[in-house]
């Protein structure tokens, strides 16, 4: 639990730092005329929204992983998961998806339509491939309810991968919409922001997966 407390404290710290950076020491009652838009963040609302959302998801997974470690330490006879090899492949695929999406975002800013198309197709395919790979991993870990009931490690594995997968699916929905707009011939400039946000989100989900995988491997 204390690890989570640290993570959350960190997030709160970031929030406080934001506030301090925007002059918590100001003396508002002195009524100095302020020039311009002091203290307003120079980021689009979508980007801020995404960052806040990622903070929420960080908290969610930090708590899941804390629960995992506490459940492990509180019980006698905890049976570790045998990590199926396919998870290494999946990790590589997700990494590739994240890279492909970054390339798509770069291509869009560079105004290169063909490169964008290739990268988008690659990113979409790889992401779906990752999800399919996770399903295969379930079959390797314990293919039925019997295993899930019998071993908390397996139950955690299911929960963690499903929750992570759902977040990726949500991302795919947004990416799918952007891709449809792209296919419909939308101006590249109009797609810049959404692809760049998708890329950020994919990198984030990659990090989350690495954290989950790391905990499963080493804890």
């Amino acid at each position: 639990m204390s690890n989570t407390a640290i993570v959350v404290a960190l997030l709160v710290g970031i929030a406080v730092w934001f506030a301090v950076a925007s002059r918590l020491t100001a003396k508002p009652w002195e009524n100095r005329e302020q020039k311009g838009d002091v203290g307003v963040l120079h980021m689009s609302p979508q980007r801020i929204g995404l960052w806040v959302f990622m903070a929420v998801v960080t908290s969610l997974f930090a708590l899941f992983l804390t629960a995992y470690s506490m459940r492990m330490h509180h019980s006698i006879g905890w049976c570790h998961l045998t990590i199926p090899n396919i998870l290494w492949v999946n990790t590589a695929i997700l990494l590739a998806a994240s890279v492909a999406l970054q390339l798509a975002a770069n291509a869009v800013s560079g105004g290169r339509r063909d490169a964008t198309r290739t990268a988008l197709v690659a990113a979409g395919t790889l992401s779906i491939g990752f999800l399919a790979g996770q399903v295969l991993a379930w079959r390797a870990v314990g293919p039925s309810l019997y295993f899930v009931q019998g071993s908390p490690a397996i139950a955690f594995f299911y929960v963690l991968t499903i929750v992570h997968g759902l977040h990726l699916l949500g991302g795919l929905a947004v990416l799918g919409r952007a891709s449809l707009r792209f296919a419909g011939g939308a101006e590249l400039v109009d797609l810049r922001q959404s692809l760049s946000l998708c890329a950020t989100y994919w990198h984030f989900l990659l990090l989350v997966w690495l954290a989950v995988f790391g905990v499963l491997l080493f804890l």
Binding site: A5, V38, M70, R71, S75, Q149
Partner: protein, 584 residues
């Protein structure tokens, strides 16, 4: 410019035309605020009725037969959960957050209006799922609002089948709704403030709501995690929380789960939850006091820092709810210390409120009465909290009526007084009408004195050792006769308070038609929401031009100024220039 996105749009924003766009699938933050508030108040009334039934049972155990022991458990559970989550959290953030953030920050709307609309409908779904549990087989869960396993999912507890599952699912849905709303509130505050509105010029209401939202966004995931895992324990037979135990002669179905893990997760959410409710109340009360005492808030900067400090600290005190669950004494010491440290910024806030009143030009309007009432109840609740924060004092008092008295004082009555004060305060802007003042005063005194009559004696009961969550005390040797007398008196007071809510509702509804037309700025307040060109504010809030802010939110009784208030949008060099809505 950062705020171009929504703020400085030249084209007229898309106005809703049909009735449905305007009032049902509305994306206007003011309409969503009203929708949230109506639903929250509605479920709150359900919870109030439940508490009345419980009180009848407790006060007159032999005369009434409204509830049996199982129902008593179900009623406490639903009462507690509804009050904390579905009423107060939803009302402060979904209701006041939605209404006040864009208006006080000088924005046209929330930055993601569509998601804001979804947030409300998903919240409504959560409420429907919650209330559905009254109608399923076995009824709602009776696990207590803390939902501790293993009992929550074992057959001995009422509602252990469908009831608890519906509760957990409803909480999950609520959290999704809250997250959608929360992303909006945070992003709007960070990004869509009007020109000149620096963070340190924001009214404290916005600060309180803003920080509370951040707490919610980070703390609700803990409840989400525990809801998912408990649902799986209850349905699929996993053992996250469920230890091996045989219940009612059955062979154990679970093995090795950790109930203590649930308690950690629950309170990692549960304690910040107290502040999710309290911080908006703190903020709003600060603004009510300053406005109605015609004085600048004392120590504005300290107030902001205190809100931030309380928000941060609230994540490191959760285990003070678990002293009796057994823990390493060093942990107990740690959590007792952090708990007492939180008292410091909290006390600073109380001093500052009192100092704001000091030598103020106090107008005892109805909102002001409620705000001052809050200071009393909050100080009482806070002081008993200091007792309970210490391990050695908590052990004997835990699970007695002392605790019930404490938490109702601090997070039941106090925020509710602020809710009432705030509704009386902003109703004229919301509807363009004033309330019946006399009924408002009657409502205040009945509520304020009534809640004291309910909760003060509970501390006495607790010290005598009357246990919490008991259906009936029966013939208990160690309890004197006075306990029964006190219980009957408390019930009578509770019924009076419940009746006073009827006065409130009557006043609120009838004033919609009969109320006197309200001027744009009836309290002569400085903050932006009172300076809108129309009252009630129209879609887009500000007409063609956004306001520009030139000063902080507390220029009351400025020496040399003709009025005792200068709105935030009045330029500094021309103090007497008339801002919109500035009159007199």
């Amino acid at each position: 410019m950062a705020y171009v996105a929504i703020a400085d749009r030249d084209a007229p924003i898309h106005d809703p035309h049909t009735f449905i766009e305007k009032y049902i699938w509305s994306q206007d933050h003011k309409v969503i605020a009203i929708q949230y508030s109506i639903v929250a108040i509605f479920v709150g009334l359900v919870a109030l009725v439940l508490s009345g039934l419980m009180r009848l049972q407790l006060g007159f155990p032999d005369s009434f037969h409204f509830v049996d022991p199982n129902q008593y458990y179900q009623f406490i559970t639903m009462h507690g959960m509804i009050m904390v989550i579905y009423l107060l959290t939803a009302l402060f953030l979904g209701g006041f957050g939605n209404f006040l953030i864009p208006l006080m920050c000088g924005s046209r709307d929330m930055v993601f209006p569509y998601m804001n609309m979804l947030s409300f409908w998903v919240y409504l779904l959560a409420v429907i799922v919650l209330l559905a549990s009254f109608f399923v087989q076995g009824g709602p869960t009776g696990a207590g609002w803390t939902l501790y396993p293993p009992q929550a999912v074992l057959p001995g507890t009422p509602g252990a089948g469908l009831g608890i599952i519906l509760m957990l699912v409803s909480l999950g849905i609520f959290i999704v709704a809250f997250t959608m709303g929360g992303l909006n509130y945070v992003t709007t505050v960070l990004q869509a403030r009007c020109r000149g509105m620096t963070l340190m010029r924001m009214p404290l209401s916005v600060w309180g709501i803003f920080v509370a939202t951040i707490l919610g966004l980070l703390a609700f995931p803990a409840l989400f995690v525990s809801a998912i895992m408990m649902t799986l324990d209850g349905t699929l037979g996993t053992s996250f929380f469920m230890p091996a135990l045989s219940s009612m002669g059955q062979a154990p179905e679970h093995d090795g789960g950790s109930p203590l893990l649930f308690q950690h997760l629950f309170w990692f959410f549960g304690h910040p939850e107290v502040y999710i409710v309290a911080l908006p109340a703190f903020g709003i009360v600060s603004d009510l006091l300053a406005t109605h005492a015609r004085k600048n808030i004392f120590g504005y900067r300290m107030m902001v820092w205190a809100i931030l400090a309380i928000g941060g600290l609230s994540f490191v005190v959760w285990a003070h709810h678990m002293y009796v669950s057994g823990m390493n004494p060093y942990f107990g010491f740690f959590f007792a210390t952090t708990t007492l440290i939180i008292a410091v910024p909290t006390a600073i806030k109380v001093y500052n409120w009192v100092l704001t009143l000091w030598k103020g030009d106090i107008h005892l309007t109805v909102p002001m009465l409620f705000a001052i009432g809050f200071i009393f109840t909050f100080v009482h609740g806070g002081l008993t909290g200091l007792f309970l924060g210490n391990v050695t004092v908590d052990l004997p008092l835990s699970d007695t009526y002392f605790v019930v008295g404490h938490f109702h004082m601090v997070m039941g009555v106090s925020p509710v007084l602020v809710v009432f004060g705030a509704i009386y305060h902003w109703y004229p802007k919301l509807t363009g009408r004033m309330w019946d003042d006399r009924l408002g005063r009657i409502h205040f005194w009945l509520t304020f004195l009534g809640t004291y009559a309910i909760y003060l004696p509970m501390h006495y009961l607790g010290i005598l050792g009357v246990p919490r969550r008991y259906y009936a005390l029966g013939e208990t040797e160690f309890l004197p006769q006075s306990v029964h007398t006190v219980n009957a008196a408390i019930t009578i007071a509770a019924l009076v308070v419940a009746a006073s809510v009827v006065i409130f509702l009557y006043n609120m509804i009838v004033s919609l038609w009969r109320g006197e037309k309200s001027p744009p700025n009836p309290w002569k307040a400085t903050t932006l929401e009172w300076q809108t060109p129309d009252t009630p504010a129209k879609h887009g809030n500000w007409g063609p031009r956004l306001p520009e802010v030139h000063r902080w939110a507390y220029d009351y009784s400025v020496p040399g100024a003709p009025d005792d208030f200068i709105p935030q949008n009045v330029p500094v060099d021309s103090r007497y220039a008339t801002g919109t809505g500035h009159h007199g």
